[in-house]
């Protein structure tokens, strides 16, 4: 085995305080990048969670609607017009909107109602961990997410409460159905939702349009747009993309998260670079000796890059463990941090790249060193 690793690791570990300081910088940087990107992906997932879980071919929404929670009312009679279009098998209305949840000890909190005609294959609730999703077929039954239970003063299935003065009973508890607005989603039947939202029967907010088997989606979409004015007919993928681009690009929320991640990468790179440079300066005569001994530039690059990689890999491992702990801690909270295998691989690659980039200053310094200095000292 070459001495490159031995020399690199011992140079690195020789000054333990400096090594720990560097490691702290890397861990801080990687955890920050992980959290920022994890939040970004979590935010992404939360943004389109309901859209992605709807069993539909097309979402029909108002022309002004940019995302699921961006509410514009549609006439309920539109359903008959949709059903009359060639290729359309069903059009289930979905009703969404903000309402007020009365807390048991008094006081109120906002909730976001999501309701559909479950009997006609509307938007079923998913990830049910307690209770029965079929209970929502009955008026007055609601489903809430476990992460919001305490906030809504709900002890579990069977707990009662009031929404806009109407009594409700919790029929099902879900997991990980969280809203990016932090306002809790409350699922209910559509008739109940009308009274919780104070909306007359002739209004809805979305339609889930399912096509007949073999029907051409594009053809059906054109027919829908031709038959019904002032609407959009979007596939779930298109609606998701529209929601994401609005929130992440047009509001600046995504830019803030990505900017945070970029800053974290810069902090990490500077931290490793500073440590390496200081270590390189301390061992400058040793590097000059290596050059005097005839070591090639490649050999010297290997020593410095190996030092950087050891530093970053140890930092990455510690940061990874912290990241796993953070993900577990936030698993049931309202903030969702998502670490996908792809994100982990990206972070690994990014950290290694950070190590290599941080070695550049040291490499430039060593390559410029005159080997003859070993003769003058």
């Amino acid at each position: 085995m070459s001495l490159v690793y031995t020399l690199a690791s011992r140079n690195l570990f020789q000054d333990r305080l400096r090594f720990i300081a560097s490691l702290t910088g890397i861990v801080f940087s990687v955890v920050l990048v992980m959290v920022q990107l994890g939040l970004y992906f979590g935010f992404n997932r939360m943004l389109t969670m309901i859209i992605d879980h709807a069993p539909t071919d097309l979402w029909v929404v108002s022309r002004e609607t940019k995302y699921f929670e961006d509410l514009s009312l549609l006439d309920s009679k539109m359903r008959e017009r949709l059903l009359a279009i060639d290729g359309v098998a069903d059009a289930a209305p979905v009703l969404a909107g903000f309402s007020v949840w009365m807390l048991p000890e008094g006081g109120m909190t906002s909730v976001f109602m999501v309701a559909s005609d479950l009997a006609s294959g509307g938007l079923p609730v998913w990830n049910v961990v307690d209770g029965d999703p079929r209970s929502l077929l009955e008026q007055g039954a609601v489903a809430i997410d476990r992460s919001y239970a305490a906030r809504l003063g709900v002890s579990g299935v069977g707990a009662t409460a009031q929404i806009r003065g109407q009594p409700v009973v919790v029929g099902a508890i879900t997991e990980s159905i969280r809203s990016f607005t932090t306002t809790p989603y409350v699922f209910s039947d559509i008739a109940g939702a009308r009274s919780y939202l104070g909306l007359p029967a002739n209004y809805t907010t979305h339609f889930l349009v399912r096509l007949k088997p073999g029907a051409d989606l594009e053809h059906a979409r054109q027919n829908i747009l031709a038959a019904v004015p002032a609407i959009q007919a979007l596939t779930p993928a298109e609606f998701s993309e529209q929601s994401r681009s609005f929130w992440l690009l047009r509001t600046g929320a995504g830019a803030a998260l990505v900017a945070g991640a970029i800053l974290a990468v810069i902090v990490g790179t500077v931290s490793v670079a500073q440590t390496l440079y200081s270590s390189t300066k301390e061992h400058l005569y040793e590097f000059a000796t290596l050059r005097a001994m005839g070591a090639s530039n490649t050999y010297i690059y290997k020593v410095i890059i190996c030092q950087a990689l050891i530093d970053t890999i140890i930092g990455l491992t510690i940061a990874g463990l912290i990241g796993i702990a953070i993900v577990r801690m936030t698993a049931t909270s309202v903030i969702q941090i998502v670490l996908t295998p792809n994100l982990v691989m990206t972070l690994f690659g990014l950290t290694l790249l950070m190590g290599i980039v941080s070695a550049l200053a040291s490499i430039v310094r060593v390559v410029r060193v005159d080997p003859a200095i070993v003769l003058t000292r």
């Binding site: 085995m1 040793e286 290596l290 001994m293 005839g294 070591a295 050999y299 003769l375």
Partner: protein, 248 residues
């Protein structure tokens, strides 16, 4: 006739320009042959280090031609000079320049590692070299655990482990007491004799003359004179005479 390892013809070196111009070397002509221990002696500022830097392929001359084992070092790129050093030259420095984080054996092994030789054979070779300079019990000692004389022996083992054609030693005894200095010069002398190799020692210490096959004086950048070997002194040195290293 032994083969020339280093040849310098009309080598000059100038630093700076205008009023700051310094002629460090002037028309130096020198040949170093295998089987010889050549001592280059001169006072501080005489140009010894500059000449050693040029002969060690670390500095380009301003004029003249220098060759190491037939390879010209004039107009050659830094990476090619490193290749020449790697192939033909071993260095022994005044301050040893051992790697503080490596053991004695690893320091010697490093000279092989930079040449692409690693693994158990390199370890064995490094340990054999250390044993050859009397450090069989110090393989795993770090430089800070070794005396100055022991560190210089490690440096010598490192210089010769890759079997270079020439060993360039820069003031190898300057940091040592007389006994250790004598021991180091005995080893260097033996290296020059036992192998098909040349040793060039740069010093300002006249006490090393006894080990020399040739003594070359340098002053103000000029090689002023060459003296033949003092056989009596050399014999005394070879027998381990220590009077020349007695502390004044």
């Amino acid at each position: 006739m032994t083969a020339p390892v280093i040849e310098a013809a009309n080598v000059s070196k100038v630093y700076g320009s205008g009023p700051a111009r310094v002629e460090a070397l002037r028309d130096v002509n020198l040949t170093v042959r295998t089987g010889e221990l050549t001592v280059l002696i001169g006072p501080s500022g005489s140009g010894k280090t500059t000449l050693l830097s040029i002969l060690g392929c670390m500095l380009a001359p301003s004029a003249g031609v220098a060759r190491v084992c037939g390879d010209s070092i004039v107009g050659v790129r830094a990476e090619q000079l490193a290749t020449i050093r790697r192939r033909h030259i071993g260095f022994v420095f005044q301050s040893y320049h051992l790697f503080s984080t490596l053991t004695a054996a690893e320091n010697v092994q490093l000279a092989l590692d930079v040449r692409g030789e690693s693994g158990p054979k390199a370890v064995t070779k490094a340990e054999e070299m250390l044993a050859g300079v009397g450090l069989s019990s110090k393989f795993n000692s770090f430089p800070r655990q070794l005396s100055g004389g022991e560190q210089q022996r490690v440096a010598i083992a490192r210089a010769i482990v890759a079997d270079p054609s020439i060993v360039l030693a820069d003031e190898p005894t300057a940091a040592l007491d007389s006994a250790n200095g004598h021991a180091i010069m005995t080893i260097l002398s033996a290296i020059a004799k036992q192998r098909d190799r040349a040793v060039l020692v740069v010093t300002h210490d006249a006490r090393l003359f006894g080990f020399a096959d040739r003594i070359i004086h340098i002053e103000d950048g000029l090689l002023t004179r060459e003296e033949p070997c003092n056989t009596d002194l050399a014999n005394a040195a070879a027998k381990g005479g220590s009077t020349r290293f007695a502390v004044a």
